[in-house]
């Protein structure tokens, strides 16, 4: 939005369609450089031999809207910075406090457990749901139904209080003798309860995401794999799953980011994750807003890192999918810097 209107490239030369000189020659002819003059052949009759200069269209409303947005942004920034009630010095003081860092680490740990276990469960449930065995398929449907229907916070409380329902957990022959028993309290502490609750809940959603991914793959792919005699598990993991990942990754990214913040519900089990820790500190110090800001900043940081990871993961699974991927922002930046260094003339024109 901050681009001055003079440098807005014409529609034909947006960055996506630009063909930089550093790449190998593309199959299609590269688009005309935007500053090129019209060759005489295209000139109207009577002006042969005379090169005509192209004047790009002006977009006055872009300038107006850009200024309006800039003013609003400046107002927001000023409101954040100048009002002492935000207590920025206190935010700085607590942002890297050891207890907060520990809480961030614990949040990450819960998220990782929830996502890894959740997607393992989800993949199994999705494969069951797609299986030709009606019993497996119904059980998978029932799983998804149950764990999607009960609110996460209730599920967590059930797991937390499992010892009230079953004092002992026995391992042995089903309905037969047991080999050994463990007290439920010892086996399922609050952290385990939280991990199990998050994973089972996440598994139900992951199952649907994985199933959607599998359904998005052209049935001809399975047919070709079967015709080639490729073994069944290999068909699933080598042929179908990598193609399904294209549909899975964006929605899975949503889920992971949702879970980073979703872990904050485990505060009801008094587990020292980020949000709970922030509350503990502000209850003691009274710096409510500052600590809420600290938590918000950390959630922002975690989400940013995950979003960047998702971007590269999507590119990985897009290989062979589109004719040519646009450059990553980093590659684009490197190209601009290299072009500037080479030509010695700064400005956007030097990057083309």
């Amino acid at each position: 939005m901050a681009i001055p209107p003079e440098t807005v490239p014409p529609a034909a030369a947006r960055p996506e369609t630009m063909s930089p000189a550093t790449r190998p020659a593309p199959p299609a002819p590269p688009p005309e450089p935007p500053s090129a003059t019209v060759p005489t052949a295209a000139a109207p009759a009577g002006t042969d031999g005379e090169a005509l200069k192209v004047v790009t269209a002006r977009h006055p409303w872009r300038l107006v809207s850009a200024v309006a947005v800039l003013v609003l942004l400046a107002m927001a920034a000023s409101a954040l910075i100048t009002n002492p009630a935000w207590e920025w010095p206190v935010v700085g003081e607590y942002l890297f406090a050891p207890s907060i860092l520990r809480a961030v680490a614990f949040t990450l740990q819960l998220t990782a457990l929830g996502i890894v276990l959740g997607f393992v469960i989800g993949t199994v449930v999705a494969l069951m749901r797609l299986s030709r065995n009606p019993l497996l398929s119904s059980v998978a449907w029932g799983y998804t139904w149950l764990f999607r229907s009960v609110p996460l916070i209730l599920q967590l409380l059930f797991w937390y209080n499992l010892a009230l329902l079953y004092k002992q957990i026995s391992f042995g022959v089903p309905f037969g003798p047991s080999f050994f028993s463990i007290g439920t309290m010892d086996l399922i502490g609050p952290v385990t309860a939280a991990a199990i609750g998050l994973a089972l809940h996440q598994g139900a959603y992951a199952a649907e995401i994985v199933r959607a991914g599998f359904l998005s793959v052209d049935p001809g792919q399975l047919e070709a794999a079967a015709a080639l005699g490729i073994p069944r598990t290999r068909q699933t993991f080598r042929i179908v799953l990598p193609q399904a990942m294209r549909a899975i990754v964006p929605t899975a990214g949503n889920e992971i980011i949702g879970l980073v913040k979703g872990t904050s519900v485990v505060y009801i089990m008094a587990l020292p994750e980020l949000f709970y820790q922030a509350q503990v500190i502000y209850n003691r110090s009274g710096r409510v807003i500052a600590l809420l800001l600290v938590a918000a900043i950390w959630y922002l940081i975690l989400t940013t890192v995950l979003s960047i990871g998702q971007y590269y993961l999507e590119r990985h699974y897009a290989k062979g999918a589109s004719r040519r991927l646009p450059d990553t922002p980093l590659a684009r930046l490197r190209r601009i810097l290299a072009a500037r260094a080479a030509s010695g003339t700064p400005g956007i024109g030097g990057t083309r």
Partner: protein, 254 residues
């Protein structure tokens, strides 16, 4: 006649009330090229797909080189084989699809080597060398590390043919291999298929390319409404058809 490479005996197949294959009998000798023609919906593709057990037949049997594809015979019963065994037998039957069905996330090389490595468990070095040789044969040696979507339709179909040949199949089945191609790309695929036919590959080809049938087929089979109406040499079936339905069909496509 020597033992046929492919033999269909009294094959029946129905989808609901529709009789798709009605008492089909077919013998294809080793090294022979059989071209199946007929109007759409006549059961050509189903016939081809039942040869490698992508479709199960309701009655009758399909033998490849004297061996049942999807079943084990015990007395008068046919027991369906476990999937692993079907996959193993199917690996000796090449199949080329109308829509290529190349694996888009794998390179041309990986497309060709995947099945020999995972289904036949042959050593990688041999398979890599075989892939290079086959891609050279279909004229795509320089595309070995490309992804399929960066190739033209004709090139993709030639990769698909190389992929089918990599299993060193006893027979290669072609299901309308040029129907999804732009007209100017049909020739390059047919050239590869003619080359295969001349080198003694056993082939069953479902196609609308009557010119191809005339040039390379040993046997032309005309199907209509799930039945083999007539079969014979290209001269017999294409130039002097005995049945009215064959004449009517040929007058439309020629």
């Amino acid at each position: 006649m020597t033992r046929p490479m492919v033999e269909l005996r009294g094959v029946h197949k129905r989808f609901g009330a529709l009789e798709v294959l009605n008492d089909v009998n077919l013998r294809v000798g080793p090294g022979e090229v059989t071209v199946i023609i007929g109007p759409s919906g006549s059961g050509k593709s189903t016939l081809l797909r039942s040869v490698n057990h992508l479709e199960k037949v309701d009655r009758g049997s399909v033998l490849i080189d004297g061996e049942l594809v999807g079943y084990r015979r015990a007395g008068n019963r046919l027991h369906e084989l476990p999937e692993r065994e079907i996959l193993r037998r199917r690996a000796r039957i090449g199949f080329v699809f109308q829509n290529f069905n190349l694996f888009p996330h794998l390179t041309v090389r990986q497309n060709v080597t995947e099945a020999p490595l995972s289904a036949q468990r042959r050593p990688r070095a041999d398979v890599e060398e075989l892939a290079a040789r086959l891609l050279d044969r279909v004229g795509l040696a320089d595309k070995i590390d490309e992804y399929p979507r960066r190739l033209s339709g004709g090139q993709q179909q030639r990769v698909a043919i190389a992929r089918a040949l990599a299993l060193e199949p006893k027979v290669v089945l072609f299901d309308e291999p040029t129907s999804a191609l732009d007209p100017e790309l049909v020739g390059e695929v047919l050239d590869v298929m003619k080359d295969l036919a001349r080198s003694g590959t056993t082939m069953i080809v479902v196609t609308h390319e009557v010119g191809f049938a005339r040039e390379v087929a040993d046997t032309v089979v005309f199907m209509d409404a799930g039945r083999v109406v007539e079969q014979g040499t290209p001269g017999q079936v294409l130039d002097a058809p005995r049945h009215e339905r064959t004449r009517a069909f040929l007058s439309k496509v020629l």
